[in-house]
């Protein structure tokens, strides 16, 4: 599959073209260029997909291919960064996800971003992002992944800060970058630690069977945990940052300051799942460190619950979606965390479920965001209070949005049901505790999604300056396509393609789990309908009943304030400022002091040069005598 290189090269070339020559092009041309390019990439990745999954299994396992892998930078004899393309089930699956969503977003943006200043720049950044994300998923080694990991980070930064004159966007982009960067620090140290023991970055060696990883780190411990655990936990920290796991999630809601299609692409469908992808990629390794898997489960579960609760009370629709994204990604994390073996049927189900959910979630969440974008496009606001009753004006958006909501709520036959069901099943497999926990979260999900849905399309109609109207075709077509995908994706025999050990696995719905979750979801939806479908005062009453909880949830449990405190009060005020002060007033002053002392000394001794001959002579003779006496004392 030599042509797979084009999938990487083309977006990069497009980025260069658009970045360097974008100003010379018309907006339309730039948009078309970008979209066409992406279309080509999409087609190519579909070809890759078909070809890859069309290949026969080797001993029942899907073999990983590595059409390219060249040395990019060598550290030591053994440790080298290679750049290459690794095709295996999950990377191919990701190719599909990324190119599909990206293509949709490209098309959608032609309408959504129409006439914006910096349109060409926007497309350039999109290309850059696509390139980076594709590079990330096809990485053959952990360092290549890290490289593209950083690159998606910066693309995200650039796109969040696209409206660079808006201070909120600027600070959001900064926050996103720095928080993920902080997480990446963990990732980096994890990589370094890992590679120190394994002497390799390459995935195929790291994940090779036979406990290569474990044997090489055996014995080394640090603070009670094995070094292997530390390394993997730190790597997970990177993933947690990118995937907005609690408590590193704070950047994601703010990232909604970027253009909505960007949110759809980066902050819903692709980049934010990179963390999940990372864990999946290193899954065999994680399996060998169960304590870290436990950690992942806990982090995922807490995040899922936390984000779901917060999502219930947010008023900005994109923030609701953002928290929903956090929560859903946490689902995927939990799914990975609850795995206990490589075999899908015996505790390895979560892996498949996670990937499946990743896939379906990408589609419906992109759809939700794009739909939200259409809404925002229509009413020029993000606030739910400015919306309501829009179903009349935006019929296509309304329908597609509803489909997505149903999917995320886990209502059959929409795709979300299938994937979430697998996750819940995996969770129950591990323990009932996790199963119940996740089911509750799933129910809350249904609740807040429908709160959102009703808030936008039903409820009290807000006053509009001009009548909202349906979006142009460039925007609605992607919505429709994604809605279709959302409807049918659940029926894809996902287990055939992606499983933890590469063997085929037949998805079967566990009736108990499925029923429970659907019932819960339906109840939640009904509750939402009761509360929000018609304008009424029930929500306010509920707020009044639980003022503390509402306030805390509305303020996202003050996580941002904690961070604010850490950065401003501790890092800036307690570390940076004192260091800067120390530098100026201690170190620098010490250096200056040498000069001052010299000057003072010069001043003090000037009395000897009195201009009086006789005092000179006195100094002369006394000096001579003193020297003589001193010499006598030394030598006699």
């Amino acid at each position: 599959m030599d042509y797979s290189i084009v999938i990487l090269a083309l977006p990069f070339l497009m980025f260069l073209t658009l970045a360097l020559a974008g100003n010379k092009m018309s907006q339309k041309f730039a948009g078309l260029l970008g979209t066409t390019g992406l279309l080509v990439i999409t087609i190519l990745s579909y070809m890759v997909t078909f070809q890859y999954f069309g290949m026969p299994r080797v001993e029942g396992v899907r073999e990983a291919l590595m059409p390219y892998n060249f040395e990019w930078l060598s550290f030591t004899d053994k440790l080298t960064i290679n750049l290459g393309i690794l095709l295996d089930p999950i990377s191919v699956m990701m190719l599909v996800v990324i190119t599909t969503v990206s293509l949709m977003v490209h098309i959608y943006s032609m309408g959504y971003m129409h006439g914006e200043k910096g349109f060409q720049r926007y497309y350039a950044f999109l290309s850059l992002f696509t390139f980076s994300m594709l590079g990330l998923v096809v990485a053959t080694n952990i360092f290549q992944m890290y490289i593209f990991w950083e690159l998606v980070g910066v693309s995200s930064y650039l796109l969040i800060g696209f409206y660079y004159t808006k201070p909120a966007a600027v600070s959001a982009s900064k926050k996103a970058f720095i928080v993920t960067r902080f997480a990446d620090l963990g990732f980096l140290i994890g990589i370094l630690l890992l590679s120190f023991y394994t002497e390799t970055f390459s995935f195929d060696q790291l994940t090779a069977e036979g406990g290569f990883f474990l044997t090489s780190t055996s014995g080394a411990t640090f603070m009670g945990c094995s070094v292997a655990s530390w390394a993997m936990a730190l790597i997970f920290m990177g993933g947690a940052g990118k995937s907005a796991m609690f408590p590193l999630h704070i950047w994601l809601p703010d990232a909604m300051e970027g253009p909505t299609p960007v949110s759809a692409l980066i902050h819903a469908a692709t980049m934010v799942v990179a963390g999940v992808y990372l864990v999946a990629r290193l899954f065999p390794v994680y399996l060998s460190v169960p304590d870290v898997l436990e950690l992942i489960t806990w982090v995922g579960a807490i995040t899922a619950l936390y984000a779901a609760i917060v999502a219930c009370v947010q008023s900005d629709i994109k923030r609701v979606l953002a928290f929903s994204t956090i929560s859903q990604i946490a689902f995927m994390m939990v799914a990975l965390g609850v795995c206990t073996s490589m075999i899908p049927g015996e505790g390895g189900l979560g892996y498949m479920a996670s990937m499946f959910h990743l896939f379906t979630h990408a589609m419906f969440k992109a759809l939700l965001f794009l739909g939200a974008g259409a809404v925002i496009h229509a009413v020029h606001s993000n606030e739910m209070s400015d919306m309501g009753g829009l179903r009349k004006y935006l019929p296509i958006t309304h329908i597609t949005f509803l489909i997505a909501c149903l999917a995320i709520a886990g209502i059959p036959p929409f795709s979300g049901f299938f994937s979430k069901d697998e996750i819940l099943a995996a969770a129950f497999n591990k323990s009932t505790f996790w199963g119940v926990w996740m089911t509750v979260v799933a129910a809350i999900t249904a609740f807040y999604m429908f709160r959102l849905y009703f808030g936008i399309f039903w409820g009290k109609e807000a006053k509009h300056e001009h009548t909202p109207h349906e979006s142009p075709a460039t925007m609605t077509v992607p919505l429709i396509i994604l809605a279709v995908v959302t409807c049918v994706a659940g029926f894809i025999p996902f287990g055939e393609f992606v499983t933890s050990n590469g063997t085929a696995y037949h998805i079967h719905i566990d009736p108990v789990v499925a029923t429970t979750s659907v019932v819960c979801a339906v109840v939640a939806i009904l509750l939402a309908t009761w509360l929000f479908a018609k304008p009424n005062t029930k929500p306010e009453k509920m707020q009044a009943a639980l003022p503390k909880l509402h306030k805390w949830a509305y303020n996202r449990f003050y996580m941002d304030n904690v961070y604010q405190y850490i950065t401003h009060k501790i890092i800036f005020a307690r570390i940076s400022k004192p260091i800067a002060w120390f530098d100026r007033h201690i170190i620098d002053a010490t250096m200056d002091m040498f000069a001052t002392v010299t000057n003072v000394a010069a001043d003090k001794i000037k009395g000897f040069q009195s201009g009086k001959l006789q005092s000179y002579v006195w100094v002369y003779i006394v000096g001579a005598m003193v020297i003589a006496v001193a010499a006598m004392l030394i030598f006699i």
């Binding site: 550290f75 201070p167 600070s171 890092i571 260091i579 200056d592």
Partner: protein, 499 residues
């Protein structure tokens, strides 16, 4: 004449040309042609060097030439290059080239400005090609003193103070250095055949251990002052802040590299025993530099101060990596030198250009420049991204090589400092993005700025040259590391023997 001497001859010819120049055009022509020639020569040198290496020439230094200079004192004019010096020469040539364009409109006294600048470059080139301690030291000082005039005459702010402080502190360092060099010389051989030649000293390996323990700190600190090692870095913020654009570029871009290179070539190479014995002290100091520079940069408000502290941090990383001794870390150190040289030069060029327009460097007084001068702003963002270690730009490869190299040690002491150093990449992001967010993004802060113009051709030329170089290293790091690796492993292995 050795090909290497060209690097000293061209600038001398340039100085002659400048001396004869009458008009601004002539001055510019001479400067441009000369620096372009040098750039070409350095590229040719790289090609020749790689060709020789590919042809299987494994000598430690290539293109050696040796002329007796002061015979009674065993002082030779001895030149030779290995991969590290070749890389450094290329770096210098690029930055001088860019620096010439960055000072296209220098005023007043353009002729003098270029004369001094070129004199500085003689020192730099000479330093990198020398393998005789005396010659090396001489060129080292040649490179230092023009700074005084360059900052004093063409600088801004409290330039007298800064220029004096910079010069005196650097000369203080070189005072230590001179003592160290003399000490090395007089212990260079057991059989009385004293020599100043670095290669021979290394071959003799005769410096007694007790002497090494004295001489190593002398030379290391001596060079470390120029490498902005804590606590001898304080000349750097003031000096950079006051220096004119091209001088900041050259100084941060090339001159500070002299420090790292010297530590590597003289202190560590010649005194491996003491390197092993005493590294811990300097690891602490440089580790502090890395950390401390980054944190200090976070709260500065003057663009140049931010960059100067960032340089402290980055150059600290250079020395830090050198003290990790293994080939990887040292390769990383040299790559960090290249990378830091280029991107800091780019930074200072841009700051100079922005300052030339807004007449302020206080980030609180600027905002929304992206709208007003998109070219400069985009370049600034690129420089910033390079600085915070974005893959594809030079900073990343260098830092990663350093960290991977440093991580090859598994004792707690080095681990802790390595991780501490790693944290600097986050802090770097903090202060870089703070600046970018403050001055480039957001609304226009001062309506007077709204009418300012974007970069003109020579400015673009200057910045693009540097960006290409930054991206070149970042995208294709392998050739750089291959160029460096062999030369470094010689030194690294030499040191590792003593563990």
């Amino acid at each position: 004449m050795s090909i290497l001497s060209i690097f000293v001859v061209i600038p001398i010819l340039m100085m002659g040309g400048l001396f004869l120049s009458k008009s601004m055009t002539q001055i510019r022509t001479v400067a441009t042609v000369g620096s372009a020639l040098q750039l070409i020569a350095s590229i040719v040198l790289v090609v020749l060097f790689c060709g020789e290496r590919a042809a299987g020439n494994t000598a430690e230094m290539l293109f050696m030439a040796d002329h007796v200079w002061f015979e009674p004192l065993n002082i030779h004019y001895a030149v030779g290059v290995d991969g590290v010096s070749v890389a450094m020469i290329l770096l210098s040539a690029i930055i001088v080239f860019a620096g010439v364009f960055a000072s296209w409109k220098i005023n007043p006294l353009p002729k003098e400005f270029f004369l001094w600048l070129i004199l500085l470059s003689i020192g730099v080139y000479g330093f990198f090609i020398s393998i005789d301690l005396f010659t090396m030291f001489m060129f080292y000082e040649v490179a230092l003193i023009p700074m005084y005039l360059l900052i004093g005459i063409w600088g801004s702010g409290k330039k007298y103070y800064s220029a004096m402080k910079l010069t005196l502190m650097l000369m203080g360092g070189s005072a230590l250095l001179m003592l160290g060099i003399l000490g090395i010389y007089f212990n260079s051989s057991v059989d009385g055949n004293l020599t100043m030649n670095i290669l021979e000293i290394a071959k003799n390996n005769a410096i007694p251990e007790s002497m090494q323990n004295i001489l190593f700190p002398l030379t290391f600190v001596g060079f470390g002052v120029l490498g902005a090692m804590f606590p001898f870095h304080t000349w750097s913020p003031d000096g950079h802040a006051s220096a004119p654009t091209a001088v900041s570029m050259l100084h941060a871009g090339v001159l500070m590299k002299l420090g790292g290179y010297g530590c590597f070539r003289v202190a560590m190479y010649l005194m491996p025993y003491a390197t092993v014995e005493l590294s811990w002290i300097f690891l602490i100091l440089t580790g502090i530099s890395v950390f401390y520079g980054a944190y200090s940069a976070c709260v500065q408000t003057d663009l140049k101060y931010i960059n100067a502290y960032s340089s402290v941090s980055h150059c600290g990383l250079v020395l830090f990596a050198l003290l990790m001794w293994n080939t990887t870390a040292m390769t990383g150190a040299i790559m960090q030198m290249l990378s830091h040289g280029l991107m800091t030069a780019l930074f200072f060029a841009l700051i100079g250009m922005i300052y030339g327009r807004t007449h302020t460097r206080d980030i609180r007084e600027m905002g929304g420049l992206m709208k007003i001068m998109p070219f400069l702003s985009v370049c600034y963002v690129i420089a910033g991204l390079a600085s915070l270690g974005l893959p594809g730009l030079s900073g990343f490869v260098a830092e990663m090589t350093v960290f991977v190299g440093a991580f090859q040690w598994d004792d707690t002491f080095r681990r802790v400092f390595t991780i501490l150093a790693c944290t600097s990449i986050v802090i770097t992001a903090v202060y870089i993005l703070r600046v970018v967010g403050k001055i480039l993004y957001g609304p226009v802060q001062d309506e007077h700025h709204a009418t300012l113009t974007d970069a003109v051709w020579y400015e673009k030329f200057s910045t693009i040259t540097l960006i290409i170089a930054v991206a070149g290293i970042g995208m294709l790091p392998l050739w750089v590391s291959d160029l460096l690796r062999d030369s470094i492993s010689v030194i690294s292995e030499r040191i590792l023997q003593y563990i």
